[in-house]
Amino acid sequence: MVNKKFFNFFTTSLIIFIISLFFNKQTFAANPQFSLKIIYVPQCMDGRDNDGDGLIDYPADPDCTSPTDDNEGPHSKVNLASSVIFIQGRTIPNAKIKILKDGKILIYAKSDDNGNFSQSIYGFYHGDYSFSVTSETKNKTTTNLVNFNVSLNPGSYISVTDVYVSPTISSSVNEVKKGENINIDGYGLSESDVQIFLQNKKDNTEKILNTIKTNKQGYYIYQFDTKDLLEGNYVLYSKNLLSDTIVGSSKNIDINILISNDKIKNSENYNNYKVKCDLNGDGNVDLIDFSILLFHWLASDYKEGDFNNDGIIDIKDFSIMAYNWTGD
């Protein structure tokens, strides 16, 4: 009797637990993912003359008490040396790379023929910084921001490696009649696998349309037949794989599937490379667009800034802008 009660108890809780996990998975399925590793090297083993006394690291510099000592200078003085952050990663080959600090462009870089990039940045002193990396392709499409937060102490050296920048995606149209084809293309890591996902907005389910190999330049293209889809709103996005591991997720693009007798409204003016949330039309989503949106805070008559079409400019529209941020 006790065992039966326990069995019921256990089974019920297990079912609820599985359901709970399922719903959680649905909520976070479309989040961009990235892989990064932060290596913190103490000053007394970073190979640099941090205090400028001509002596490098432990045991050469007598101020170092051990290799793990994070102050190469005299310990009685406050260390006000500039910090260095080294960022290394991989992205679309020959792409323009923007490195942002706290949402503002800090420095530009360029990836090589294989998509590798690295950049050292000097001039920080202390504090918590939010760094972002994004890439821009030849056709001006941009990737999602890869963000990482670092806490800098004076004179510290931080190495951020394995930063994989997400792929881009664009489509030939944003509205088609059922049965018509959609051309999907974009850029990812050179000669890697890209999975294209389709998410049904109505029931939040998603499926993989196909897995495609990018060419040497990182380009991929896929023609998608919509004959098996139901009428409604969908989201397309892609994920880059490296050795079967997802290393980045593209931005989302909205697709509307119509039944055959519906009239296509806006595909004539559709610009597949238009930057979403770019309110002043300069090709960037930055402080200017933020200021414009802020000017219309809680307005109900500013449709250009009502990105989620809920009739009001509120924090949700700012969230969508933050997702599409490119910096200036």
Partner: protein, 342 residues
């Protein structure tokens, strides 16, 4: 039997909601939970995102003004890159909202800090609005699930807690102590006993307020002219960062005018842009940095010398003269031949 199953389901549903591994936690961390009257203490508003990537939020804190008085708000070293609504007090609530492009995913992310003074003995709390919004960086502004850990505070009479007063204030950094959770706990609003007048001097502020002698970071002032801002007038936009106490306010000076308080975007007074524009970002400690732009000379009446046009015009004239010369030579030649024939 059915009742048992329903009961079990309810119990485990409640259990599992609390066990939600993906939910962010927003909480308050204080330099001290047991306070003396007149003691100044700092409260950090922090977020643990677990595995979520949060890029925007809108929230408020409420406190009982009978027990606590807000002294200062520090926005320095925040995970927030741009404030939509900078933390501001209205009544006994602090409202704020902001964004982080690309999102924040991590532990102990500080949103801002507030400095309070304990006014009267009793038990009180600082509470996070349960209707707050924490939005995922997914392009759809999906609301993240979150757990709230409010802050429960005990304020004792200064005389009764003299030993506590002598102790240094602990936990000055942002390391997260296990937050004091007042969820679902009734707050015992004891009738406060006023022993002495409230001392608003913040003598022990230094213990909770990190020294800030650093100027705000360099920032850019941009001039824009957009129909959507200020009816299409020339405006400036700016946003500075300060990693210590945080930006307190901005001032703008146009030409010889005096500095005056301003917010971005700021519609310029002198639309001809002939004045130098200075923007001063001031942090809470009074350190400031001034960035300048302009003046821009835009005078349509002034003649513009375009040397390329002049050179091309001269070449054209020379070419015409050569053609004219050739024509005249040929005509003279023909005329001479005609005369010779005659």
């Amino acid at each position: 039997m059915i009742k048992k199953i329903i009961l079990q389901t309810l119990i485990f549903a409640i259990f599992l909601l609390g066990f939600n591994v993906n939910a962010s936690t927003v909480y308050l961390n204080s330099t001290s939970n047991k306070l003396s009257t007149s003691e100044v203490f700092r409260v950090d508003f922090l977020i643990n995102t677990e595995n979520s990537n949060i890029n925007a939020f809108e929230s408020s804190l409420s406190f009982d003004s009978n027990f606590l008085e807000l002294q200062k708000i520090y926005k320095g070293n925040s995970t927030v890159a741009f404030w939509v609504k900078s933390p501001r007090i209205q009544g006994n609530k602090i409202f704020f909202s902001g964004i982080t492009p690309g999102g924040f995913n991590g532990e102990n992310g500080k949103i801002f800090s507030a400095l309070f003074v304990a006014k009267q003995p009793g038990i009180t709390s600082i509470e996070i609005d349960s209707n707050s919004k924490f939005l995922l960086n997914d392009g759809n502004a999906t609301e993240d699930k979150f757990k709230i850990k409010n802050l429960l505070l005990e304020i004792v009479n200064t005389n009764n807690n003299s030993s506590n007063n002598n102790q240094p204030v602990t936990n000055k950094d942002n390391t997260a102590n296990p937050p004091t959770n007042t969820d679902n706990q009734p707050v015992n609003n004891q009738t406060p006993v006023v022993d002495k007048p409230i001392d608003n001097s913040i003598n022990n502020t230094d213990k909770v307020n990190p020294e800030d002698t650093t100027r705000p970071e360099e920032f850019t002032v941009k001039i824009i002219k957009d129909s959507k801002i200020g009816n299409g007038k020339f405006s400036i936009i700016f946003n500075a960062q300060d990693k210590d106490s945080g930006i307190d306010y901005y001032e703008v000076k146009e030409g010889d005018e005096a500095f005056k308080r301003a917010e971005s975007p700021y519609v310029l007074q002198f639309q001809d842009l002939t004045k130098e524009i200075q923007v001063k970002a001031v942090d809470l400690a009074g350190n400031y940095r001034i960035e300048k732009i302009g003046p821009f000379i835009i005078n349509e009446k002034k003649a513009v010398i375009n040397y390329n046009v002049i050179i091309i015009s001269l070449l054209f004239i020379v070419f015409v003269l050569i053609l004219l010369n050739a024509y005249l030579n040929r005509r003279n030649k023909l005329k001479n031949e005609k005369n010779n024939n005659i």
